[in-house]
């Protein structure tokens, strides 16, 4: 077990930020930590890293106590905070050199390789960087020393789609090397794309820990079809995995469950002339409500 939290609770005064959080992250997996803003993702991460101390509960990382052995743990961790502040009077190379002196190892070559992958110039000053560029520098700094565990808080915020793709490839490589990633996000498609397992946190509580395939079955999409004539729900009602069908003029909107055979829906739509088609991802709240509804249905 790489990370284990037991009944982890953290309070800021009277406000409970996280409560009774139990997580187990195995070696070699990419573990997603999914939740809306303010759900407690960052607080959990900061508690794991011993930036803040739990009000209750215990944490072990690599089997070591997160507080007593925090320095030994952090030696093996690469961390990317959600809001990265860098020392602006340095260049990327100077920053990496300084990290080398702190970590007492050499990894500039690896940093240069990562910079190349992320299309980033390590020689440029860290001053006045855009969010995306700062993010790239943060990713390079977190990965360059090849840590056993990566803790990444909203890592792709501000990255363009191409760079997101490059980042996903890097994560797959990290996993292939048997290293572990703990990644927080509020972006379901990203989590679906790269994670093995996902914990869903909401208002400070972990509501579910699922494999991505299970979550995909719980998840759904909103499909909107625009016809060249007033839309009708006939033919779609009663289809397996189709719910909440609404017609609005020429538009037909329906909720398609993750496990639904989309081919049948497309064939049914082909009975009409389709002018447009759009697919929207559900919000995290919708996923949570779906998941929670299913859980309640399953319980007596």
């Amino acid at each position: 077990m790489i990370i284990q939290t037991q009944a982890l609770t953290h309070r800021y005064g009277k406000f409970t930020a996280i409560e009774d959080v139990n997580l187990q992250v195995e070696q070699g997996e990419i573990f997603g930590f999914l939740g809306p803003n303010g759900a407690g993702k960052t607080t959990t991460i900061r508690t794991i890293l011993d930036f803040i101390r739990p009000s209750e509960g215990a944490i072990t990382v690599f089997g070591l106590d997160s507080r007593q052995d925090s320095v030994a743990i952090r030696r093996r961790i690469g961390y990317l905070p959600s809001e990265l502040t860098l020392w602006e009077n340095w260049t990327g190379v100077q920053y990496i050199h300084w990290l080398e002196s702190v970590r007492k190892s050499r990894f500039l070559d690896e940093a240069l390789r990562l910079a190349d992958r992320l299309d980033y110039d390590l020689k440029r000053s860290l001053k006045g960087m855009s969010t995306g560029m700062r993010r790239k520098m943060g990713i390079i700094a977190a990965l360059a020393h090849k840590p056993d565990l990566l803790i990444l808080d909203e890592p792709t915020t501000g990255l363009d789609p191409l760079m997101q793709q490059a980042f996903h490839e890097l994560m797959h490589e990290v996993r292939a090397e048997g290293r572990t990633v703990f990644l927080s996000s509020h972006n379901l498609p990203e989590v679906e794309h790269i994670c093995n397992r996902v914990a869903i946190i909401r208002t400070g509580r972990v509501e579910a820990v699922e494999t991505v395939s299970d979550l995909t079955h719980v998840a759904f999409r909103w499909l909107t079809l625009t016809f060249d004539q007033p839309a009708t729900a006939d033919g779609f009602i009663g289809m397996q995995g189709i719910r909440d069908i609404v017609t609005d003029g020429y538009d037909l909107r329906m909720r398609v469950n993750g496990s639904t055979d989309i081919d049948a829906v497309i064939k049914q739509a082909a009975a009409y002339t389709v002018r447009d088609l759009s697919i929207e991802q559900p919000t995290l709240e919708e996923i949570f409500l779906t998941y929670y509804g299913k859980k309640q249905e399953a319980e007596p």
Binding site: F51, A72, P81, E83, T85, W87, W98
Partner: protein
């Protein structure tokens, strides 16, 4: 700890250099008036006799009976070192505030804390940088006054005593730094109280000490005041008071040790 110190020193190097240069220039500027002060010392001393004792003790920081403005110790203390302690104190408060409290707020502490550096090692590195900053600025100042002994022969003091007088200022400023580190280790950054309380400590100590020299009711608390233990004029006249220096060093050490211990228990605002 070494890496934290190197980073802090690198970040502060321009500030150290320029503050040192400015202090040195100010020192030379002050000393340029010294020959004329010596020349007119009789008239000046007569003039000073007419000033209220209270006011004189504010600016000379010590016993003002038989005060001679042109006496080298009095001159250095009243025109330079007294203000150096106040200004350096304000500078180190700002430095500590930036390195701990501001770093908590702006997120740079977040980055630092993610590295294999303990909180205590981080504090130690920053404290070492504060000590270096003070020493660098004092060295520049000292060099200006050593140069003055050659430029203006009227300024006839022992260089050894000048060295002790100037480096003696290291201890009161370290007490201020230690106290500010202690506040930063105890007070949550969100409270925004570290800076104001540290400045209050600095100015309060100076003012209470000055007032206690002529308000009898305040005299019992004078030994609690920082400025009761350092007077560069006294060092230039009579040499180092080892007891006072040890007291200041011990107080700075106690403050810092408490800060070092408590930082590990602090709920950081990262």
């Amino acid at each position: 700890m070494t890496a934290v110190f190197r980073k802090a020193a690198r970040d502060a190097r321009r500030m150290m250099l320029w503050t040192g240069i400015i202090f040195a220039i100010y020192g030379l500027f002050v000393m340029a008036f010294y020959p004329s002060m010596v020349e007119q010392s009789e008239q000046l001393d007569e003039l000073l006799e007419s000033y209220p004792k209270e006011m004189m003790s504010m600016f000379y920081g010590g016993d003002v009976e038989d005060l001679s403005v042109s006496e080298p110790g009095n001159y250095v203390n009243s025109q330079f070192t007294l203000w150096v302690v106040l200004v350096m104190g304000a500078l180190v408060i700002a430095q500590v505030f930036n390195s701990i409290t501001n770093a908590e707020r702006d997120g740079t502490l977040d980055v630092m804390m993610s590295l294999p550096v303990s909180r205590r090692a981080m504090l130690l590195g920053r404290f070492a940088n504060t000590a270096l900053t003070i020493l660098v600025v004092l060295t520049f100042s000292l060099l200006a006054f050593v140069a003055s002994t050659f430029i203006w022969p009227e300024f006839d003091v022992s260089i050894g005593r000048l060295v002790f007088a100037f480096y003696g200022a290291f201890f009161p400023v370290m007490v201020i730094a230690g106290f500010t580190y202690l506040l930063a280790a105890v007070i949550p950054s969100s409270k925004r109280l570290v800076g104001p309380l540290a400045y209050l400590f600095l100015m309060g100590s100076y003012l209470i000490h000055a007032f206690s020299l002529f308000i009898d009711e305040l005299s019992p608390i004078r030994p609690l005041m920082l400025f009761d233990y350092y007077n560069a004029g006294e060092v230039i006249r009579h040499g180092v008071n080892i007891g006072d220096t040890v007291i200041l060093g011990a107080v700075a050490l106690v403050y810092f040790t408490l800060a070092w211990w408590l930082i590990d228990h602090k709920e950081l605002g990262v």
